[in-house]
Amino acid sequence: MSQGAGAEAVLALLVITDLLLLGSSRLRSCIRVVAVQGVVVSLLPLLLHGGEGAARAWALTAGGVAVKGAIFPLVLLRVLRETAVRREVEPFVGHTLSVLVGASALVFSLWVDTRLHLPVTLAGSPLTVPVGLATMLIGLFVIVSRRKAITQVLGYIVVENGIYAVGVALVGGVPLLVELGVLLDVFVAVFIMSIAAYHISREFDHIDVDQLDRLRG
């Protein structure tokens, strides 16, 4: 019972961090929110399958917390220091409207989940799949609706967090090697995107990706 409650607390935190990200314009706090979300989502395997295969769950949680909770914010904050950008000014969709979109994404995911009848394997919360799905959608929305390269990286991390939650719920036992490979890929992806964002800021004096529009046709 306590396992289920713990998992539901995690899911609630996931939704809250999603909405906080959508509502805030200071990039520094956005990075922190996504770091918190990364830590929270990394706890899921421990809460859902702490009993059987405990070593595997601990390894995943430790890896996830280290990468998403510590390394990502460090790297991103460093890029932020190198660029002169502090805020996500004038996103394509305003912050209030974004929060509404996020809430609709959650409702939509709940509806989709009732229609799909996915074979969810595990005990824990039946809400894991819809919340993970909503997190994915919100991450995608962040990528398409924000101008700054850093915010797009954050959106990518949020998409990955959502996929992670869905994965934990759908298939308990993805082999550890694969999970670690995925974590490594995500880690390298964020790292490389940060380097690219840094180069963009040096070359262009801004990181507004909507102004990267010279290649056409």
């Binding site: 996915l118 993805v174 995925v182 990267l212």
Partner: protein
């Protein structure tokens, strides 16, 4: 040699070469290692592919690594494309080294990432675990991203950024698909460690849960389709191909797109058998194929930049492959053959346009007018490659496209036949004027003088000869291999 050992060699050799490149001092040394090591890697991959094709199937690492006809055939393409591109890289970057435009750090980065990408692509082909396959595809995206902006410029950074974001997010969808495959395997009651093993899934494909398998295929089609450049998911492709150095464009177009398409081919038999072999997944592929051909045709018709033209041509040809596999039967064999022909013709065209771009200082096709007379080797290579790509008879691509058309006609899908003919006709006419311009046009600017090496002539001549020979004669071993591969996909005639 034992097939299991071969598998490890295929993963180990490029990793070793990548490490060596990072350890070298001067850009010249790195380039020599890239050319020679890459050529050796190409030969090793090709020989291994032929050995493994003959052995039918081989496994290593407790079944996590596995080679069958499908992966061996793609390994052959990888060896061919990357071997040739590595040899070409020497001539392409030589002038940059001489002028100091390619610093030691850049050269090391190029070498390391170049062979790193080779290792990642062989991991994709060799892994039996669908999750590991995904890890390999994502790794190719990450390793090749900085190859695009080897020379940092605003345009190349723009292309790199789009490539990174679009492909990473797209391929993330493919991972959801992979998870859903795992979910649909639950009725089989497999041990978690075997849940994503392709051989296990394939053996009991009819018992997979049909609903979640369909969903899985949709996610994978969209995810890997983004990386394979199927329209309308191709937005990153023309930018990345046009900004990357020519050897990288050749590798992207000649094989990396096929590596992603290979992943779709892996899942296709699973979804087909799970849904009762009624052609549900094939229908989707057919649709994507036709859309890709038409979209690419629309952009090719008005294209002036040589590399962007070739990039859209890749969208078209991946569309032809998707269409062929979607039609099944003869179409599957034709699509696989088409992959080989494309892997010869497209690198040739990129090689030529890359060197012409260096000589003329631009990739604008108008400025390259008369290039075939001024710079005979590369000018003729460009014209020949482009003619092959637009489907001029009797070159090989014409023959494989004709077979796809035949498959469409035999399947009595006359709408598809019509759309296919319209698309390829637009491409033919749209690109032919550039061939004519390059061959006989009034020269606008004179190219820089550069001596032609025997290696350059060998690359161009060899590729053109292969295209001509394959167009008139399909060797029996190749024909057998193609039908064996089609059996794996489950669409053999």
């Amino acid at each position: 040699m034992d097939a299991g050992v071969l598998i490890w060699v295929l993963l180990g050799l490029p990793t070793l070469l990548a490490g060596l490149c990072l350890a070298l001092r001067s850009p010249r040394q790195v380039l020599i290692l890239v050319s020679i090591g890459g050529g050796v890697w190409g030969v090793v991959a090709g020989v291994a592919a032929c050995t493994l094709l003959a052995a039918e199937s081989a496994a290593a690492a407790y079944g996590w690594l596995h080679v069958d006809a499908l992966s061996a055939y793609h390994l052959l393409l990888l060896g061919l494309v990357q071997g040739a591109s590595s040899i070409y890289a020497w001539g392409y970057f030589r002038s940059d080294v001489a002028t100091g435009e390619l610093a030691a750090g850049q050269a090391r980065r190029f070498g390391g990432l170049w062979f790193g990408a080779a290792a990642a692509m062989s991991l994709v082909l060799l892994s039996n675990n669908l999750g590991l396959m995904w890890v390999g595809i994502e790794a190719t995206t990450l390793l090749t991203a900085f190859l695009i902006c080897l020379h940092v410029s605003p345009l190349s950074l723009e292309a790199t950024w789009k490539y990174l974001v679009v492909c990473s997010v797209g391929v993330a969808f493919a991972f959801v698909g992979t998870l859903l495959v795992g979910a649909s395997a639950q009725p089989l009651g497999l041990d978690p460690s075997e849940m994503l093993l392709w051989t296990r899934l394939r053996a009991s494909a009819p018992h997979l849960a049909a609903g979640s398998m369909k969903l899985a295929f949709l996610f994978m089609l969209v995810g890997y389709g983004t990386k394979a450049g199927l329209a309308p998911l191709h937005s990153w492709l023309p930018d990345a191909h046009s900004q990357a150095p020519a050897p990288v464009s050749a590798l992207f177009s000649g094989f990396m797109l096929n590596a992603a398409f290979y992943c779709i081919l892996r899942v296709l038999p699973l979804v087909e058998e799970a849904t009762g072999s009624r052609g549900w997944g094939r229908g989707l592929l057919t649709g994507f194929g036709v859309v890709s051909i038409l979209v690419a045709a629309a952009f090719i018709a008005f294209q002036r930049d040589g590399k962007r033209l070739l990039a859209y041509s890749s969208v078209e040809h991946l569309g032809v492959m998707a269409l062929g596999v979607g039609l099944g039967g003869v179409g599957t064999v034709a699509a696989l053959w088409h992959a080989l022909n494309h892997a010869i013709a497209k690198p040739l065209a990129f090689f030529a346009v890359g060197r012409l771009g260096k000589l003329y200082g631009t990739h604008d096709l108008g400025a390259l007018a008369g290039a075939a007379r001024r710079s005979i080797c590369w000018g003729v290579g460009f014209c020949g490659g482009l003619l092959a790509l637009i489907g001029m008879a009797p070159l090989a691509i014409f023959m494989s496209e004709f077979q796809v058309l035949r498959a469409a006609a035999e399947a009595r899908t006359f709408g598809v036949v019509a759309l296919f003919l319209v698309g390829t006709a637009i491409v033919f006419v749209g690109a032919l004027r550039h061939v004519i311009g390059t061959a006989w046009g009034e020269a606008i600017s004179a190219p820089a003088r550069e001596p032609v090496h025997a290696v350059d002539v060998g690359l161009v001549g060899g590729a053109l000869l292969c295209l001509l020979v394959l167009g008139v004669w399909l060797p029996a071993p190749l024909a057998n291999a193609l039908s064996a591969v089609a059996q794996v996909i489950g669409g053999g005639p």
